[in-house]
């Protein structure tokens, strides 16, 4: 439908402006420190980002469906603690540890699911309540930190396959599966429909409870998997310190990725960009040797700038599309693509 040829790369970058910011950040910091793009450093960044991504993916799906899960920090710690206990138990086996950790997380997800989707309670406050409650439970389960695990378990956090760290492999797998799920399965389409309008989705015969139910369970299980990975990386599972504030990190990454809290829109590419941006931002500030309180100032402002640039590009994109549509489409034709409601810009939504 485009009458003016546009380069797909340009369209892509206009759609994902954070990527540009990310590249600028990487180039700038690399030039001034010389150590950002070392394999050693990128490995650290990717490992951190992987842990966030594993939990952020199902969480992002929930947000697209119009729900939210704030309990991921506690589920992460739960995963670490359960895995740690298994590894210190009589049946110590890494696969069993992972499975049981994920089962425990799934259980938390199940409770969230029942509260939020079946009983219809406010997802925000129920998952916030669960965050506190599960955090308490984590500490009861393991008042003293568990540490010193088998190499087989540590492999999950520090091992590599074909030179690629295991957590990165897991995160990539999760991301690819989620992308496929969203784009290519009916349930994936339904996630968007539910997020836009539960009523419209219901009237289309969509299982408006089953899908978010399943996503909550997945969110709990994946957060716990992230916890097991973290415990394996650290070779320790301190219940009181694992995943503190993790829910906010995950949420920030998701929002940076252009996924709105109102639901109905977003992509896994966005999550990836958001996660990488957060990881690289913190890493860059450390490499640049910004002193500690200034780091907080800088990273807060960077968040604001990132979201501002995304919004501004969005605006530009709309204008460009509108202009192009005016040039190409006949005035009485159907509304031009991408030329959406000029008012909304004025309302400043």
């Amino acid at each position: 439908m485009h009458s003016i040829a546009d380069s797909p790369l340009r369209t892509f970058l206009l759609k994902n402006p954070l990527i540009v910011l990310l590249i600028l950040l990487v180039v700038g910091v690399q030039l001034s420190t010389g150590s950002l793009l070392t394999w050693q450093n990128m490995r650290g960044v990717l490992l951190d980002a992987s842990v966030i991504a594993i939990a952020a993916v199902p969480c992002a799906l929930l947000i697209i469906a119009g729900y939210i899960d704030l309990s991921v920090g506690a589920s992460l710690a739960l995963g670490g603690v359960v895995a740690g206990h298994v590894m210190h138990g009589s049946l110590a086996s890494a696969p069993l540890a992972v499975v049981l950790a994920m089962a425990a997380g799934a259980l938390v997800g199940l409770v969230n699911a029942v509260l939020s989707t079946v009983l219809g309670l406010s997802p925000f406050i129920t998952t916030l309540g669960m965050l506190t409650a599960v955090r308490g439970a984590d500490q009861l389960l393991s008042p003293l930190p568990l540490s010193g695990f088998d190499a087989s378990f540590q492999f999950l956090g520090i091992g590599s396959v074909a030179g690629i760290p295991v957590p990165v492999i897991i995160a990539t797998l999760v991301m690819v599966l989620a992308t496929l799920f969203l784009a290519a399965t009916p349930a994936g389409r339904h996630v968007y429909a539910i997020g836009v309008s539960r009523e419209a989705a219901f009237l289309s015969g969509i299982a408006i409870r089953r899908i978010p139910f399943f996503l909550y369970v997945a969110s709990g299980a994946m957060a716990a998997l992230a916890g097991a990975v973290t415990a394996a990386r650290l070779n320790s599972a301190p219940a009181g310190q694992l995943g503190l504030g993790f829910e906010l990190t995950v949420l920030t990454a998701i929002l940076l990725g252009g996924i709105a809290l109102t639901g109905g829109e977003g992509s896994m590419l966005g999550v990836l960009v958001g996660v990488l941006f957060l990881g690289l931002l913190g890493n860059s500030l450390t490499l640049l040797g910004v002193t500690s309180f200034w780091q907080n100032v800088a990273s807060g402002l960077a968040l604001v700038a990132a979201i501002g640039i995304t919004a501004a590009t969005h605006e530009v994109r709309k204008r460009v599309a509108a202009r192009r549509a005016q040039l190409s489409a006949p005035a009485t034709g159907p509304a031009a693509p991408a030329a959406s409601r000029p008012e909304s810009a004025e309302i400043g939504s």
């Binding site: 150590s35 070392t38 050693q40 450093n41 650290g44 960044v45 951190d48 842990v51 500490q139 008042p143 003293l144 930190p145 540490s147 010193g148 520090i158 973290t230 990386r233 650290l234 070779n235 320790s236 301190p238 009181g240 310190q241 694992l242 995943g243 503190l244 504030g245 913190g282 890493n283 500030l285 450390t286 490499l287 040797g289 910004v290 002193t291 500690s292 309180f293 780091q295 907080n296």
Partner: protein, 301 residues
């Protein structure tokens, strides 16, 4: 056990990693370390861990490949940092554990948390024995979330029990900030209006307890009340100077101006091949302590 005494060499740059950036001690300590290092021609880099374990690990990992020669790190969870420590030593750098011991370390700067807790517990017990015949109700404001907190709490309880077995610990509550100390103490005071002693695993929580006593109408110099905590806390030290009878009766703390040279020293010495650990003394501050004023100054007051 020094894992890599081979990593000798002059130390030009040290990384000081103190994760609890929200604590006043962080702000008191860092400029002193920087000043001390500068005098010896050494640069200091700081991390910003925001009291978060995974941030601490990430930040340290990011610096493994940098040109720092030595890291002095306060591990939020010792076991979690073994891995990082061995990366540093493997890279030929010096790893100095601050307040703890790791297997992969070059050496360590020791503070005994259990011991300082015990010191406070014993002092409080002795005071109770002298003033109230060893009877009274105690609130312990503990910190179960960190390793050092747990050690301190154990020390306090053990010290109390040994020196004044007649004291009744009526409540143990979690709390590290002044606000938490205030809220918790106010609540316990209402179920135990005859509460006489609060011992806190942090000086900040003790300060909250002190305020709670005052706002419940207890006199600043009530002869039967005892507030004590671990770590320096400016308001409490100031209260101690105001009156010898202040209910702010004890703080067990290190001296920032001793830490700063020690931090630089231990790095330099390790660089020269001397990996003997340094044990930093702790001090018991009471209203009668003569150098109170110098402590206040070194805590930034």
């Amino acid at each position: 056990a020094p894992a890599s005494s081979a990593a000798a060499g002059p130390v030009d740059k040290i990384l000081f990693d103190f994760p609890f950036t929200s604590l006043p001690i962080y702000a008191a300590l860092t400029p002193q370390i920087q000043a001390e290092a500068k005098e010896r021609g050494i640069t200091v880099e700081l991390t910003n861990d925001n009291s978060d374990l995974s941030t601490q690990v990430s930040n340290l990992t990011a610096k493994v490949a940098s040109d720092v020669d030595a890291v002095i790190s306060f591990p939020m969870d010792p076991a979690s940092l073994e891995n990082v420590a061995s990366q540093y030593t493997a890279a030929g750098k010096l790893w100095i554990t601050y307040a703890g011991d790791l297997e992969a370390q070059t050496t360590s700067l020791k503070f005994s948390f259990e011991k300082s807790g015990r010191m406070l517990g014993e002092a409080a017990g002795e005071w109770a024995t002298q003033t109230t015949g060893g009877a009274g109700k105690v609130l312990v404001i503990e910190d179960q979330l960190t390793q050092i907190g747990r050690e301190r709490t154990e020390g306090i309880l053990a010290g109390l029990k040994e020196s004044a077995p007649g004291l009744e610990v009526v409540s143990q509550q979690q709390g590290v900030t002044p606000e938490e100390g205030l809220t918790v103490t106010s609540a316990v005071l209402s179920s135990h209006p005859d509460l006489t002693m609060v011992l806190a695993a942090t000086g900040d929580a003790a300060q909250g307890a002190y305020q709670a006593f005052l706002s419940s109408g207890r006199s600043e110099t009530d002869a039967k009340t005892y507030v004590g905590g671990l770590d320096g806390n400016l308001p409490l030290m100031q209260a101690m100077t105001k009156s010898p009878d202040s209910i702010a009766r004890a703080l067990v703390t290190v001296k920032p101006e001793e830490i700063a040279p020690a931090v630089v020293d231990i790095a330099v010495q390790a660089g020269e091949g001397n990996t003997a650990p340094i044990d930093l003394p702790v001090y018991m501050l009471t209203p009668g302590t003569p150098e109170l004023q110098s402590f206040i100054t070194s805590f930034g007051g």
